[in-house]
Each structure stands twice: as C-alpha cells, then as structure tokens.
C-alpha cells in the first residue's frame, strides 16, 4: 500500500464544510498535499510565486472532508484547514 494512492476514493465524512487555505507565496511545490488529498482539492498554479516555484492552489474546496492530511504533510506551513464560519467544529466531524 503506497503512501500516495493512485486512485482516490473519498473517505466518508460530510464535505463542503471546510475552508482550505494555501499560502501560495510560501509554497515550494513539493506536491505532497495534492498527492495525499483523497478528494482532489488542490491543483497547480501556472505562474511562479516569488520563491520561483509554481505553487499549489485550492481548486475544489467544496470537496474537502477535513481529513487534515494536507495540513499534516505540508513541509512549509502553507496550509490551513478550518471549519467554515458558522459550522462549529463538532458538527463538522
């Protein structure tokens, strides 16, 4: 079983309740978040950031199920995943 699974199957868990934020100017484009995300929230940006990398962007926030894998794996402190305003933590889990 690979760390970065080829075909993605969304784990159960209500989607659409999460704010996913990537600090694009801090991103070094390792690609970990993209690979680890079970529901393809991330995508590459086509223009370089000030570090000279083509950074990651949030493409499909609505898919996010708040598994936090991206947050855990990002080596450059870029990612924040938070419950959307109004929906309290408990409900989200």
């Amino acid at each position: 079983m690979a760390l970065f699974k080829a075909e993605k199957k969304a784990p159960k868990g209500p989607a659409g309740r999460w704010d996913v934020l990537v600090a694009e100017d801090m991103c070094k484009a390792c690609g970990f978040c993209l690979q680890v995300c079970p529901v393809d929230v991330f995508a590459w940006r086509s223009t370089a950031n000030k570090l000279g990398w083509l950074p990651m962007i949030v493409a499909h926030e609505e898919n996010c199920v708040g598994c936090m894998l991206c947050y855990q794996i990002c080596p450059d402190f870029c990612i924040a995943v938070t419950v959307k305003a109004g929906l309290e933590e408990g409900a989200a889990r």
């Binding site: 000030k50 570090l51 000279g52």
Partner: protein, 182 residues
C-alpha cells in the same frame, strides 16, 4: 584597464540556480583549454536556495591568469533580472540576455545589448526550458567568434546525456538570425 585588456578575456554568466550557468561556464572553459589557453572560473551564488543568483566568472588568457575576478567583463550573459541588475556595472562589453527572463534592460547602451530568446526557443523547439543555456552558448560562440567545432566537442565531453538535443540547441543559438555576423 589597458594593461589587462590586451591579454585577457573576461566572461560573466549569471542566472538562477538550475539554469545551467555553471555547466555553460565549464564548457567554455574546457573549450578554451583545448585551444591552448589558460582559464580560471569562479563559481559563486547568493544565499537563497531560489530567487538568489548563480554566477560564473571566467577569465581566458594566453598566459597564466593572475586575477580570476571579473571586474570588467568583455561579455556578460544574463539569465535572470536580478542577475542583470546586480552585475550590469561589471561589464564594459556585450551583454547577452534572455528577454523572457530579463524584461527590462538599461537604455543607455543599446549597441551593447543582444537579446537571445533562449528560453522561448527552448520551449518551442524542445518543449522545455532545459536547453536554453545551450542555445545561449551557441549565440555566445558566434558573437565572440570562438571556435564552434571545438565548443561542440567540449560540450559533448561535459554533458553526459541528451547529446542530440544539446547539439541542436547549440546550433539553434549559433544560427540565430537576430545576431549580427561575428
């Protein structure tokens, strides 16, 4: 400085890491050695892993080179805007720059500026930027009147892989229409 101008050629190459700046310098240096010249090459880099600069300072002369420092470059190859700005004043000769990377150039000495669209050409011809440095080298060889055959030979010795593409890139640079005849 007259005393040195006579006897030495100074070449300054600079850009981002990963653009093949040092490789380019190595090839030029080896080529010169094969032609019986003495050569020095200083490598230096800014601190940032990215966004900084990589610099090769080459001095080529018939006899032993004392100062390896390029203080008055005969040729300056600029692969990035920061590099262009940082080292502009060290050049009193031709400046080859890649317009895709160096968008603005000083206006005071147009005759010294030569735009070599290496990155763009590399992308067009090879689908990636990887060969921009060889295109630039081709152009430089032509402009500075260095021995093209010898340069090819040196390139093949130093670069392990992709010989066809690299040769093609060198050729592309060497035959660039925009270049004034050597």
């Amino acid at each position: 400085m007259a005393a040195r101008g006579r006897t030495r050629t100074e070449i300054l190459i600079s850009g981002f890491g990963g653009q093949g700046v040092i490789r380019m310098g190595q090839i030029i240096g080896l080529c010169a050695i094969k032609q019986g010249h003495r050569v020095t090459m200083l490598k230096s880099h800014g601190t940032e892993t990215r966004g900084g600069y990589v610099r090769a300072q080459l001095v080529i002369a018939p006899q032993y080179v004392d100062s390896p420092v390029v203080e008055n470059a005969d040729v300056f190859v600029a692969f990035s805007a920061p590099a262009y700005r940082k080292f502009y004043d060290l050049c009193r000769g031709k400046i080859l720059y890649d317009p895709e990377m160096v968008s603005e150039v000083r206006t005071e000495a147009p005759e010294r500026h030569v735009a070599v669209p290496a990155t763009q050409l590399s992308k067009e011809r090879f689908g990636k930027e990887l060969f921009a440095n060889m295109i630039m080298l081709g152009a430089l060889t032509r402009l500075s009147g260095m021995d093209y055959a010898a340069m090819k030979q040196a390139m093949l010795e130093i670069i392990p892989r992709f010989h066809e593409q690299n040769l093609a890139a060198l050729e592309a640079g060497h035959t660039l229409a925009t270049l004034a005849p050597a």
